[in-house]
């Protein structure tokens, strides 16, 4: 990503370049967490399992879906999450365009006051960091193994089992 414009920091530079993300409620029990499916194939299977695991932990859930992973979420979807949820989990990014767009969605929801975490595959760790850097936002992320498209449903569920605690931890 080429930087075409350079600005100078108007602050005393006591903080990191990236904006700190919003803090989530310290206890999510009884709170509503939005599960935003970015529209990538197989992602729903991971989210299905994650949803069940959250519910077991007393977290209320609501499902949302983007029409395509290749664009940022439609504004009505973002508005709905902002209106109906206390926090959001965005899953599951395993490509360049979906990583970029879902990171913008994460940032957009944060600016609307909804803290969130993005779930991506390990291959896109750098892309997530770069996109956060370009936006200036210290987004939270959890990484599951790459690739995911050729996995069985059981394997995807296992990813959810293995990551749910980290997802909740990163939300806080």
């Amino acid at each position: 990503m080429n930087a075409v414009v350079k600005l100078r920091d108007p602050t005393p530079e006591a903080a990191a370049v990236q904006r700190t993300r919003k803090a989530a409620p310290s206890d999510l029990a009884g709170k509503t967490v939005g599960l935003l499916d970015i529209g990538k194939m197989r992602g729903a299977e991971y989210i299905d399992r994650l949803e069940a695991l959250l519910q077991v932990r007393g977290v209320l859930t609501r499902r949302y879906a983007k029409p395509t992973n290749t664009r940022t979420a439609p504004v009505p979807t973002l508005q709905a999450v902002a209106t109906e949820c206390d926090a959001v989990i965005i899953a599951l990014s395993d490509c360049g365009s979906c990583t970029s767009c879902s990171t913008h969605d994460l940032n957009d929801l944060d600016l609307r006051g909804i803290p969130g975490v993005s779930v991506l595959t390990t291959e896109f760790r750098d892309a997530f960091a770069k996109q956060c850097g370009a936006i200036g936002y210290a987004g939270a992320s959890v990484f599951v193994p790459h690739p995911m498209q050729n996995r069985t449903t059981a394997e995807l569920h296992a990813f959810a089992d293995a990551s749910v605690d980290e997802v909740l931890e990163r939300l806080r």
């Binding site: 075409v4 414009v5 350079k6 600005l7 100078r8 108007p10 005393p12 530079e13 936006i135």
Partner: protein, 490 residues
């Protein structure tokens, strides 16, 4: 003695030994010397034209195309024509404009220029046109700025990037690029690294450079910088209590009143809609101060700015006083600044309370009328609890002026008219819990501290309307929080 510039590193095109002639087609003096330069070159003198606009026009000078102005910038050319002699990669001589004797010295030929005038000044270099120099500094030089660079991605909108980083007051800001910051810094003689003070609530050190960055973002012109710097220094005077004013649950923010010649010079508004929108200087000077408090001080609403309701004046609230009527003593003069000097006064104020009186004809009537409205500042039953600013319009002032009342008389009479019996004001009186200490029931109670009522002249010529700005509740601590006036140093 200045170091001799070494162009070997930066100027591959113009490092060769010889004479560089910086010229442009649109310059009459360049046209005057062009035939001479061409004859000298044809005769074997190692002259090359460095052409700022139209190299083809100087084809007989083996021209270097300097339409990008890099060579002109690196050689610090201010005037064309300029001759620069290069030997061993460094400059060993320079003549600016057409000066026959100096050209003869530089070129070592006492015969050149016969029949030409002895002297003709040159024209401005294109590299020195307004705004161009700063752009060239950014492109080819060292901007010399210390603040952290923030890179904005290729597909991102810089204006949105400022929003996303939390740098704005909710309205768009001008993206602070080096070019704009350098232009802003040209508005002050103070050095970029100089610390102006520590800005609350985080008490972060604020340099002149940070002031310039925030002034860019606010939309200021460079010529506003002395006012912005003075406003900031005034806000940081401990007696102004900017810290408490920022963090307060009250409505207030800093209200800036500008006096003196600078107000007219930078085009401020003291006339029609003086307290409203539409004038760049009024709007952006007040906004710059607020952005500094936000971005440098960390005074972010909802975090340490805890205003219950806030007010629109917290975006910006800055205006000039109308000093066009010689019978009126300016606010700054009344507060100790010498006449004819520029100054800022900062007042801890809320938004405006309109005052309407279209019937009173005498100074006594209008004074009683003002007192009725001023008594409502904060709460009608609270006294010596806030200060207040009365913005006196032209038509209301005319009632006083025609009766020979000046600022001092008006102030004195308003205080007298604002004395009320304590029995009506104590807590519980008139069936209202709020009020003054019951122990004061037997007193005639003044509404404001003696120095706590500021009067400013502003507004259009038509309209029997004035304005009252309630002060901040911090004003109840008479010796701890006060409005502050300071001279503007240019």
């Amino acid at each position: 003695m200045e170091a001799v510039p070494d162009f070997r590193r930066h100027c591959p095109m113009s490092r060769a030994n010889g004479i560089l002639a910086f010229v442009k087609r649109e310059c009459e003096t360049c046209a005057l010397v062009h035939p001479l330069l061409a004859r000298l070159r044809a005769a074997g003198v190692p002259i090359r034209g460095v052409v700022q606009d139209d190299p083809g026009h100087f084809a007989d000078l083996a021209p270097l195309d300097d339409t990008a102005l890099e060579e002109s910038f690196r050689h610090d050319i201010e005037t064309v024509p300029t001759l620069v002699r290069i030997e061993g990669g460094i400059e060993t001589g320079r003549v600016v404009g057409w000066q026959r004797d100096e050209w003869r010295d530089l070129l070592g030929d006492a015969s050149i220029g016969e029949g030409m005038p002895a002297w003709q000044p040159g024209c401005g270099s294109k590299s020195r046109e307004p705004g161009v120099h700063e752009r060239l500094v950014v492109r080819y030089g060292d901007a010399g700025l210390a603040s952290r660079e923030i890179e904005v991605g290729e597909w991102d909108d810089p204006m949105e990037a400022c929003f996303e980083r939390g740098w704005t007051d909710g309205l768009p800001v001008v993206p602070p690029t080096d070019e704009r910051i350098l232009r802003m810094l040209a508005g002050t003689r103070r050095l970029p690294h100089e610390v102006v003070g520590r800005v609350p609530p985080n008490l972060a050190a604020c340099t002149v450079e940070k002031v310039a960055i925030n002034a860019v973002m606010a939309g200021c012109k460079p010529e506003y910088m002395p006012v912005v710097l003075a406003a900031l220094e005034t806000a940081l005077d401990p007696i102004f209590t900017m810290h408490g004013l920022l963090c307060t649950t009250c409505f207030s923010g800093p209200v800036i009143v500008v006096n003196g010649p600078i107000a007219k010079r930078i085009g401020m508004n003291w006339g029609i809609n003086a307290l409203g929108q539409g004038n760049r200087a009024n709007a952006t000077i007040g906004r710059a101060l607020q952005l500094i408090v936000r971005n440098v001080g960390g005074g972010v609403p909802g975090e340490l700015d805890r205003a219950t309701l806030g007010g629109p004046g917290k975006y910006t609230f800055c205006f000039a006083e109308d000093e066009t009527d010689p019978t009126w003593e300016p606010l700054s003069v009344a507060r100790g600044i010498a006449p004819g000097r520029s100054a800022v006064t900062l007042f801890q104020g809320d938004g405006i309370q309109g005052f309407i009186d279209q019937r009173s004809r005498t100074p006594e009537e209008i004074t009683r009328s003002f007192a009725m409205s001023l008594a409502a500042v904060g709460h009608p039953k609270l006294c010596q609890f806030t200060n207040a600013m009365l913005v006196l319009s032209a038509e209301h002032y005319a009632i006083y002026r025609n009766a020979g009342w000046d600022r001092a008389r008006i102030t004195k009479e308003l205080h007298a008219a604002l004395l009320r019996p304590g029995t009506e004001l104590v807590q519980g009186a008139q069936g209202v819990g709020e009020g003054i200490d019951p122990k004061r029931a037997g007193e005639a109670v003044p509404k404001f501290w003696e120095e706590g009522l500021l009067i400013v002249r502003a507004g259009g010529q038509a309209g029997l309307f004035s304005a009252i700005l309630a002060g901040w509740t911090g004003g109840r601590f008479r010796h701890e929080s006060q409005p502050v006036t300071r001279e503007i140093v240019e």
